[in-house]
Point group: C2
Chain length 304, copies 2
């Protein structure tokens, strides 16, 4: 059941290539076109047969598309929008998968023709790997896809995009872009920044060697290194483009950390204990909500 | 091959019960005695048949033991040491599994008879679960067991304890207690504190609801919740008893975080990118060193 006659994906990294695989598997289009300016990606896109047609340039990629999905790092959206915004088919939909939404409006909206439906979206899914080889079609299964329409968004186009994400296996949530950016700042952006930061701090210690950090990482540190291995370009662009919400959440985080630090310095064991009991409950709720799996130690080997 | 005629484990939570299972499996003693003051644990210890004898009190638990292992939260060590330190057999070994080592010396050494070998140790292994039911014998396989002897430690007793941990599947590392506490502060204690902290910050937000935090946790947050679900009593005791090293590492962490925050505020994308590329390499090294598994996304479901 083709939802769009032609779908074009710009950027076939982890997310774009997972979508391409899911679109093929679910037969959501009659023609899947891809465009990627990275020569390594181009080779892999052909090798994995990810699309029906790999376009040689942006304009030929989008000119006949009924749905165009931007899946590059968000830092590239502005220049792509400038090129394609007025060259898409009347009635087509332009969407994306970026981890921020307010800045995406600002970057793209000025370039998009009035007869194109511009509806940003963000699938809350991913792994620490990057590139066309890292994708897999079930990446979006049982994950949330957040769509951020405005009050002027065409309802039919929105319904079609909702069906599209549901067909890829996601649950769809409609959200205001500013609220999206706050929710994601705390559930995704700040956790990534903190993970990058602790890994950096550990790396720079003089008294404790890097080999010791690696050797004894099973004490907890290794959990942080997974998300600190995510795509550097993508994350640079996220932080630069969700500055306000990230700085606000970081402020709260640091304030709370100072309070814990003070409790340690002044031997306030009750404050620490009370805090640790509360946070323990959150994991159970995440598992109950189906947002993580109920396997101990992330299912690491347990050979008995 | 029994390494000790009688082994006594005080406290059969995750670590103690995993040791009991491993000791049985490898037949490392002729008699395994346990003591635990938690009534729930007592029921489970019998149910799982974890020991040959569950002792009714501390003194009868230790009086005939050749090896006594303390596996309670470290906050209880002082009072246990006071009771048993002068009541153990001459020539026996007293060891532990606590996540800190300098404070353990201070708490126990004054109570231990001269004819008892006091050799602290710390297996760097664990899961987010607690209690006798959570243990499994392979918990220590291919993990590091750090032993922190002094210059006066009896070499034969040290060799025997080394064999014991190797028989449980661990690699043994000999370390100075102060250095141990610094290494673990960065590889384990500060990561746990940060995880507890971000989960707490997320929980307290007014604009973003707790249900949204749970719903969209797949964006990265859920990785932190695993270690923030660890035993609250154990972790309270760790922070209170490794204060100096934890506060120092926290200071470095906060300093580095402020630098990242500043880079975001001033749009310094190059600084962010450079940092994110460096940290990415650390995960690869941890996997190459066999300290984490090379499975994407912690092996979460990937149904294709």
């Amino acid at each position: 059941m083709a939802l769009y006659d032609q779908i074009t994906i710009i950027g076939l990294g982890l997310i774009g290539s997972s979508m391409a695989r899911g679109i093929k598997e679910e037969e959501l289009t009659n023609k899947l076109v891809g465009y990627d300016n990275n020569p390594d990606h181009q080779v892999q896109i052909r090798e994995y047969k990810l699309v029906d047609e790999l376009a040689p340039d942006l304009l030929s990629a989008v000119e006949n598309a009924d749905l165009v999905i931007l899946a590059t790092p968000v830092g590239a959206y502005g220049s792509i929008g400038e090129l394609i915004g007025s060259r898409m088919k009347a009635g087509a939909t332009l969407s994306d998968v970026g981890s921020i939404k307010s800045a995406v409006f600002e970057m793209l909206a000025p370039h998009v023709s009035e007869n194109v439906h511009f509806i940003p979206a963000h699938p809350v899914a991913g792994t620490e790997q990057s590139g066309p080889g890292a994708g897999f079609p079930s990446l979006f299964h049982d994950r949330w896809a957040i769509i951020t329409p405005t009050e002027n968004t065409d309802q039919e186009a929105l319904e079609q995009l909702t069906k599209f994400w549901e067909a890829l296996g996601s649950n769809v949530e409609i959200m205001d872009p500013e609220h999206h950016d706050k929710v994601l700042a705390i559930t995704s952006h700040v956790p990534h920044l903190i993970a990058y930061n602790i890994v950096g701090t550990a790396r720079d210690l003089e008294e404790v060697t890097k080999s010791e950090v690696i050797k004894f990482s099973a004490g907890g540190f290794r959990d942080f290194t997974r998300i600190a291995a995510s795509n550097p370009t993508m994350w640079r662009d996220v932080f630069l483009n969700n500055k306000e919400a990230v700085l606000e959440m970081l402020g709260r985080f640091s304030e709370d950390l100072i309070a814990l630090q003070r409790a340690i310095r002044w031997d306030d064991g009750d404050a620490l204990y009370e805090m640790f009991v509360k946070t323990r409950r959150i994991r159970k709720q995440i598992i109950d909500a189906g947002q993580d799996e109920n396997v101990v130690n992330f299912g690491r080997r347990h050979d008995d």
